[in-house]
Amino acid sequence: MEVGHTAVLLLELGAVVFGLGLLGSLAGRIGLSPIPLYLLAGLAFGTGGLLPLDAPEGFFSAGAEVGVVLLLLVLGLEYTAGDLVENLRRQAPVGVADLLLNGLPGAALALFLGWGPTAALALFGVTAISSSGIISKLLTDLGRLGNRETPAVLGVLVIEDLAMAAYLPVLTGVVAASSTGDAVLSVTVALATLAVVLAVAVRHGSTVTRFVGTRSNEILLLRVLGLALLVAGAAEAVHVSAAVGAFLLGIALSGEVAERIGDVLSPLRDLFAAVFFVFFGLSTDPTQLPAALLPAAALAAVGIVTKFGTGWIAGRRAGVGPPARVRAGAALVARGEFSIIIAGLVLGSVPAAFGSTVAAYVLILAVLGPLAPRLVDPWVRRLARRAGPPRPSGRAPTTA
């Protein structure tokens, strides 16, 4: 008797999801982020990998899109319009320094390897943006929410997320356009749409919140998920990018309802985000990975140094001492979901080596990211002890 298609689909899907569960618990036990393990699983299951699977491909490609929408929606829920505006006002110079310091090496490498301007723009984003997911979990796990450099670290993350909301439409526009004139037009349209939607989200957030608010969690889940997919689809249609549409919806939703939405959506986000990382691994050719290791490692080494630079600048601006500035830099090292989202947008229009380089780059920095603060900690402690309390009263420099 032949095994039916449904049976194969369910068996393969079940094996993959169960395997991800095992990997996730393994990652948790050794204090790692599960993201690199999910990527590795995807590489193993893809064509040319250790255990090629073909049945769930359709599920994974659709699931990956939903994963991006959910990742950005839940991220947006955590921010209020007030947070964003205040941060933009206070942290803008730090944000510009951060993006240039970290993005330019990526863009330079892409041009050096002859991958073309689209790949350079994409690699700029991939190397510039830290992983909010890994970093906020890291700060919680290490009990550093109270540290005086933490607001500076979170401020950098917020600025990066905001910058991404402007950057993704530009990238989508460039990818979609066939000529330079086309690209300029489509980027202009995308940015104008973004500005209008952002203004609506900030002004009329409470209306949107009332519109989806309901007492039943089941109905809330369906309404918000449906609305998020609609907004994301509409945003994609005008080249603003689905991810940005979902992010803006998340910002518009606020208050107690937003908290409940976060609670009901989080498990779904975890599932589809895992699917998203696996899918990126699936669509990367593992045989190319060894060749990508060298450029990725070089880029990662530079990326670590430049994030320490960001941490130093952000920390100094926040008025914390040198040890705290080093800690801020170490916390910012991790790259993850956003780098993959950016790379996923351009995969079809850049050389294949791009995808494997980004996969290797994120593998390295998603592993080193959570380790960096732990590794520099003994050294930072010595530094602090040698300096002693900066004032006899133990009072830290006041923030400006």
Partner: protein, 160 residues
């Protein structure tokens, strides 16, 4: 004493202060009601030495423990200071000419020297009523003043 307030985007708020003995203490208020009490390192005042996480309920209990004795202390000190002052609840009886009048109409402070600091209405307590506050039958006015002043308020509101 300076309490510094810092926003933590995506998390909540942090308040911190330096005690008279030079230790920095902070409280992180998460949006879901959980609180973290943070003690800072003596060597490195930017780093946390210890963090204690409290649920919404636990933080209420701790707040009461820290705050309640101070309130009782202050009250007893107040009572000593104002030994000569009297506090009394004066009702608005059904026959009072001030039923449905406002606090401003009654001009209680001008006429008696005593002040109405609160009004108890049923289960509710209205602290520091404004001049446009309108009396109802069975309101109980909490009046503070000299004993003569307080007695005068009773005579004014409910003349016999």
């Amino acid at each position: 004493m300076d309490v510094e307030e810092t926003r933590l985007p995506g998390i909540g708020l942090r308040h911190d202060l330096v005690t008279a003995q030079g230790r920095r203490v902070g409280v992180i208020s998460q949006r879901n009601g959980a609180r973290h009490v943070v003690l800072y390192d003596e060597q490195d005042p930017d780093a946390t030495a210890a963090t204690i996480e409290l649920t919404a309920e636990e933080s209420e209990v701790v707040a009461e423990l820290l705050g309640a004795p101070r309130i009782t202390e202050r009250l007893s000190r107040l009572r000593e200071q104002v030994e000569s002052l009297a506090t009394e609840g004066v009702p608005i009886e059904p026959g009072s000419p001030y039923v449905a009048a406002t606090l401003g109409d009654a001009a209680i402070r001008t006429r008696t020297g005593a002040s109405v600091v609160a009004v108890v209405r049923g289960e509710e307590m209205i602290a520091s009523p404004t001049p446009d506050f309108r009396f109802q039958v069975d309101d109980r006015l909490v009046v503070v003043g000299t004993s003569d002043g307080v007695a005068a308020v009773g005579d004014l509101l409910n003349p016999r």
